[in-house]
């Protein structure tokens, strides 16, 4: 039941190719690192895998089928800019509970305080917002998690705290994870294998 990018090619509008004939398979429970220079298409690949973009050629397949466009998406993306990933006009509680209602243990594990729940996104720091984005992405239907520079904006203690929770949940539920990061040490620490993406010429 893998998540698979099958010969995927992509470009924005009619600009030059970002991804060309890319193949990638992530198995359930597998943790894969994705590295490469800025602008080589790491974020684009994550967006394709989560169904935010459609490949110009090739296909993204989950269990051999393309992603369904309705309902809770089993492939969840946590973006590197949490402030751009939440609705600024919703209280954070509404954003958090839009897809499912996370349990207390998960929230406290991520260091989320109860009083934060009724705040507006602009009253929370990027680090605090990112905890909500992580909690939101770990719904019961999640089978694959795409962590795009998920903890880059956080200090080391918070980073370790969030990863400890995510890795535990992933292990229990056999969630596959794709981690995009520039931090070679982080990739080395938590990934089973890593892929280096080279820019398209």
């Amino acid at each position: 039941m893998p998540l698979k990018a099958d010969n995927v090619s992509f470009r924005y509008r009619s600009r030059s190719w970002i991804l060309r004939n890319l193949n990638l398979t992530i198995l359930p429970g597998e943790i894969v690192g994705l590295t490469g220079p800025s602008g080589c298409g790491k974020t684009t690949l994550a967006r394709l895998l989560a169904g935010f973009e459609r490949p110009e050629a090739g296909a993204v397949l989950l269990d051999g089928q393309s992603l369904s466009v309705s309902g809770y998406c089993p492939v969840q993306l946590v973006s590197q800019h949490p402030e751009q990933a939440v609705n600024p006009r919703w209280r954070i509680r509404d954003t958090l509970c839009e897809g499912y209602v996370p349990d207390e243990a998960l929230l406290s594990g991520l260091g989320i305080k109860n009083e934060w729940l009724k705040r507006w996104p602009n009253e929370l720091s990027a680090g605090e917002l990112q905890r909500f984005c992580v909690a939101r992405a770990l719904g019961h239907g999640t089978r694959f998690l795409l962590a795009d520079e998920m903890t880059t904006m956080l200090d080391a203690v918070t980073q370790a705290q969030i990863w400890q929770v995510v890795l535990k949940v992933a292990d229990e539920r056999k969630i596959g994870i794709l981690i995009t990061s520039h931090d070679e040490q982080l990739i080395k620490r938590i990934c089973h294998r890593s892929i280096n993406l080279t820019p398209c010429l």
Binding site: P37, S38, G39, Q80, G111, K113, E115, S125, A126, G127, E128, E149, T152, M153, L154, D155, A156, V157, T158, Q159, A160, Q161, W163, Q164, H182, D183, E184, Q185, L186, K188, R189, I190
Partner: protein, 313 residues
């Protein structure tokens, strides 16, 4: 003591910053974002400031430059080159003697060619010649000066920002998170530029949460937590298991790095509207005793550094 007075460029002592906010109608509240923060920086030194996200690192930079928003109230003393840093003095110095390398490349004016932006920071001499010289130094091709910010790659825009700060004769350069989410090669290059600037006698304050980057570049490291300095230590103390570090939070930060154990501690930084009355780190500290919960530890000198902990030895 005399010697220190000569070499210290900027001394910040007991800085506090509070913000006044309206909660509903005309009811106001004040929140304390920075409390009793002390830090100093010497000529030709790179001082890294690391710490928890939202611990007030950028606020310190803005306070030094005097560019905090109108509802901020600053208390405490800042002395720059032997002179008290007043708002008038800040206005005269910023952009000339004190330069900022901002956090985001969005700080470039989107409607102005980058060459002209760099030239606007030059006050003496032939600005075009100086600007070309600095572009050459930072490997920006000759045609780059004619480009607008949107035409630059992320790495190039970063180099333009560094050039803007380096082109004048700034004696204090404050770099606010200059390397987030950048490829390791560009990170190393940017840090090397900062190191180079300090070699020419300028002081560099490097604000970052990338401890590895800080260690590579800085002479001393100040650790921030919840709006105060918990420790200042020579960079060489960040080694091994962190046994040379003085404060439990510095140790936790060190041990949480992916390369050293990846061990988190529970809880989160206290929110600024609900601070503990004793040591700010006490609720998460394994060493916390009754003293820690009731009295705020003073900043004290210890083994060539400074710390704010009752238990440090």
């Amino acid at each position: 003591m005399k010697k220190e007075a000569v070499t210290t460029l900027l001394e910040v002592s007991d800085l506090s910053i509070t913000f006044t906010q309206y909660i509903s109608g005309l009811r106001q509240r004040t929140i304390r974002a920075i409390i009793n923060l002390s830090v100093n920086i010497n000529h030709g030194e790179v001082l890294a400031i690391v710490g928890a996200s939202g611990s007030g690192k950028s606020l310190l930079a803005h306070a030094i430059l005097g560019i905090l928003p109108g509802n901020a109230c600053v208390d405490g003393k800042m002395v720059y080159a032997g002179e008290l840093l007043t708002p008038a003095r800040q206005a005269a110095l910023r952009g000339r003697e004190i330069a900022l390398i901002p956090q985001s490349v969005n700080f470039l004016d989107p409607l102005m060619r980058v060459g002209a932006q760099v030239r606007s920071g030059i006050f003496n001499g032939n600005s075009t010649a100086l600007q070309r010289e600095i572009f050459d130094r930072y490997h920006l091709a000759v045609g780059t000066e004619q480009l607008f910010p949107f035409q630059l790659s992320g790495g190039m825009a970063r180099r333009v920002l560094v050039a803007t700060a380096a082109v004048g004769s700034a004696r204090l350069i404050i770099a606010d998170e200059p390397t987030p989410g950048l490829h390791p090669m560009i990170v190393r290059e940017t840090l090397a530029h900062l190191r180079e600037l300090s070699a020419t006698g300028s002081a560099v304050m490097l604000i970052t949460h990338d401890i590895s980057a800080a260690l590579e570049t800085a002479d001393r490291i100040a650790v921030f937590y919840a709006g105060t300095t918990v420790e200042t230590a020579p960079a060489s103390d960040f080694c091994g298991d962190g046994e040379l570090l003085r404060h439990p939070y510095s140790k936790a930060l060190w041990q949480a790095l992916p390369q050293n154990g990846f061990q988190p501690i529970d809880g989160s930084q206290p929110s600024i509207d609900n601070l503990p009355c004793g040591c700010l780190f006490a609720p998460r500290c394994s060493l916390a005793s009754r003293d820690c919960l009731t009295t705020v530890p003073e900043l004290r000198s210890l083994r060539g550094g400074e710390t704010r902990c009752h238990h440090a030895a």
